[in-house]
């Protein structure tokens, strides 16, 4: 349940997000902000399946890429506006999620992760080699109808807001409790009458939907995709894991915080450290994983819970 303080924080964040592009008006900085919104959306979507339900996916690039290609192919073959991809992309991602779930949910833990990794790579290779349909490695280039960064920013903000809201509602319902139960102990969950495969799919489908939405949005914004960009294992599938780990796994705001820090730090290092940027970045990620294992929002939650427990203990008269 939203208490007053959380509500206030959300409103403050929303207001800052709304006025931010008016204050920061250089196109480069606005571009960074839009990337943050895209990554926050993918992170939030990944977090539902892998953070809350504990089914760690190494294959989210498949959903991102299918979303992006849905938008691209609409323009390439059917001369439709790529904006229709915002509807088609998420739906296609959900459709491919069904067989992916049917295969991968037979496996648990690291085996699930490996299966999703392989499935994600299969999509990259298929899109790379189906040259007649996808243009293969040449990629798809579109002429964007909108060039104003401000419009993309607000569209991206809307996308993130919807993703956050839907995820929040799922997590704070019976489904959310069931997902966390499955993560904590699948056998115990089964013994409590939870149909585990069904509920894993209830996490996977919205997760694929919003990742696909972010993919379609990316196609519209960047206007060029090829399979090695949007189905990339390290730059999409692994990056989303790092983003969420940095921000806080299984927290509402973790993926958004993680995306903001990750993208901004990445850009700062790239512009200031020259070719050493990846190295410094890697060391920093290691340090964060070692000393903030629950991510930034995760550690905040623990501090909050300790305070709450003290309060509960006092009023309960233990």
């Amino acid at each position: 349940m939203l208490n007053k303080k959380n509500m206030l924080m959300t409103i403050v964040f929303a207001l800052i997000a709304l006025v931010l592009p008016l204050v920061i008006n250089a196109p480069y900085q606005q571009h960074i902000l839009i990337l943050v919104l895209i990554w926050a959306t993918i992170g939030t979507a990944w977090n539902l399946l892998s953070g809350y339900a504990g089914q760690v996916s190494f294959g989210h690039a498949a959903f991102f890429g299918v979303g992006a290609y849905s938008a691209g192919i609409l323009t390439l073959h059917y001369s439709l506006s790529p904006w229709w991809g915002l509807i088609l992309g998420p739906v296609m991602s959900m459709l491919i999620a069904l067989p992916i779930g049917a295969i991968a949910f037979r496996l648990r833990g690291p085996y699930f992760a490996l299966a999703t990794l392989a499935l994600g790579e299969i999509f990259r290779l298929v899109f790379l080699n189906m040259t007649e349909f996808t243009n293969g490695a040449k990629g798809i280039l579109i002429m964007p109808s909108i060039t104003s960064k401000i419009i993309y920013y607000y569209a991206g903000l809307g996308m993130l807001a919807v993703t956050l809201l839907v995820t929040y509602l799922i997590v704070h319902s019976k489904i959310g409790y069931y997902l966390v139960s499955i993560r904590e102990d699948q056998d115990a969950a089964t013994s409590l009458g939870i149909p585990t495969t069904l509920y894993k799919n209830l996490a996977l489908l919205p997760s694929a939907f919003f990742t696909g939405l972010a993919g379609a949005f990316y196609m519209n914004y960047v206007a060029f995709i090829d399979p090695n960009i949007v189905f990339n294992l390290t730059n999409i599938s692994i990056m989303v894991i790092l983003v969420v780990m940095l921000g806080g796994v299984a927290t509402t705001w973790g993926p958004t915080i993680g995306a903001a820090l990750y993208i901004i730090m990445g850009e700062l290092f790239r512009t200031t450290l020259g070719s050493a940027n990846v190295l410094v970045f890697g060391v920093l990620v290691c340090l964060i994983i070692m000393f903030l294992p629950n991510g930034i929002a995760g550690e905040l939650d623990i501090i909050k819970r300790i305070a709450q427990r003290k309060k509960a203990g006092l009023s309960g008269g233990v």
């Binding site: 966390v180 904590e184 013994s191 939870i194 585990t196 427990r309």
Partner: protein, 239 residues
């Protein structure tokens, strides 16, 4: 009146027959004990009932309906709850959330699940630990949480697997008292236990098994004095 019945249930793991042609009936409202030495197949019987693995042969009936063909999560839905010998708390969830996860089987509403959890937590005397993460609890409380979580699914039949193992005498007395109170609410109980003293005290009837086969069945005194049971526990010389 019988609530639960097995007919010739058998489980083979490859060449090993863990449970062999076991037939028994449990009456409504009774505490039915299953005893046997280590590795005699007690927990396997529970895993067969709760469908954690398919049975090789035989039939299981609950309220006169055949249940051995149902998937594992349906077993809980029709009213059979279970606990695990090696406790499986939902580790990073609080005691309250653990019990709520069970209560959600009968309701979709968070407030109703919380209310149900509240009742069960009080019934099991866990109210002081409501907001504690379950992974930090000592073993007696974790065992009790295991029972609380199963109770929240509103079972008619509860399978308790070694609820008193690893507890000191005082703690197991509290556990026995809880089991009695559960029975008094009308829930039928099948209990597996190692400690004979516990079993003798609370069971209405006992089934003794060894190598997956029935060796004795009846009132606790009869079973305890049965030569086959003594042989299984203490060896040939004492029988």
């Amino acid at each position: 009146m019988s609530i639960f019945e097995t007919r010739g249930i058998t489980k083979r793991f490859g060449g090993l027959t863990a449970v062999n042609d076991l037939t028994f009936t449990v009456n409504k409202g009774e505490i039915f004990g299953i005893i046997g030495p280590n590795g005699s197949g007690k927990t396997t019987v529970f895993n067969m009932i709760s469908r954690f693995f398919p049975i090789t042969a035989g039939e299981i009936y609950f309220n006169d309906k055949r249940i051995d063909t149902l998937p594992a999560h349906e077993i809980c839905k029709i009213g059979i709850g279970r606990t695990f010998q090696v406790v499986k708390p939902l580790r990073r969830m609080t005691v309250q959330e653990n019990v709520m996860a069970g209560a959600f089987l009968r309701t979709g509403s968070i407030s109703k699940a919380r209310q149900k959890a509240e009742e069960i937590i009080n019934f099991c005397n866990l109210e002081n630990y409501k907001f504690r993460a379950s992974k930090g609890l000592p073993i007696p409380l974790r065992k009790r949480l295991e029972i609380a979580r199963a109770l929240a699914t509103e079972p008619q039949l509860l399978l308790l697997d070694e609820t008193c193992a690893g507890l000191n005498p005082k703690e197991s007395e509290a556990a026995i008292e809880l089991i009695r109170r559960i029975r008094d609410t009308g829930i039928t109980i099948i209990i597996i236990e190692h400690i004979m003293k516990v079993m003798m005290g609370i069971s209405d009837r006992i089934l003794a098994i060894n190598f997956g086969k029935e060796i004795a069945m009846g009132k606790p005194q009869e079973v305890a004095n049965h030569p086959e049971v003594i042989k299984a526990y203490l060896g040939e010389a004492y029988a």
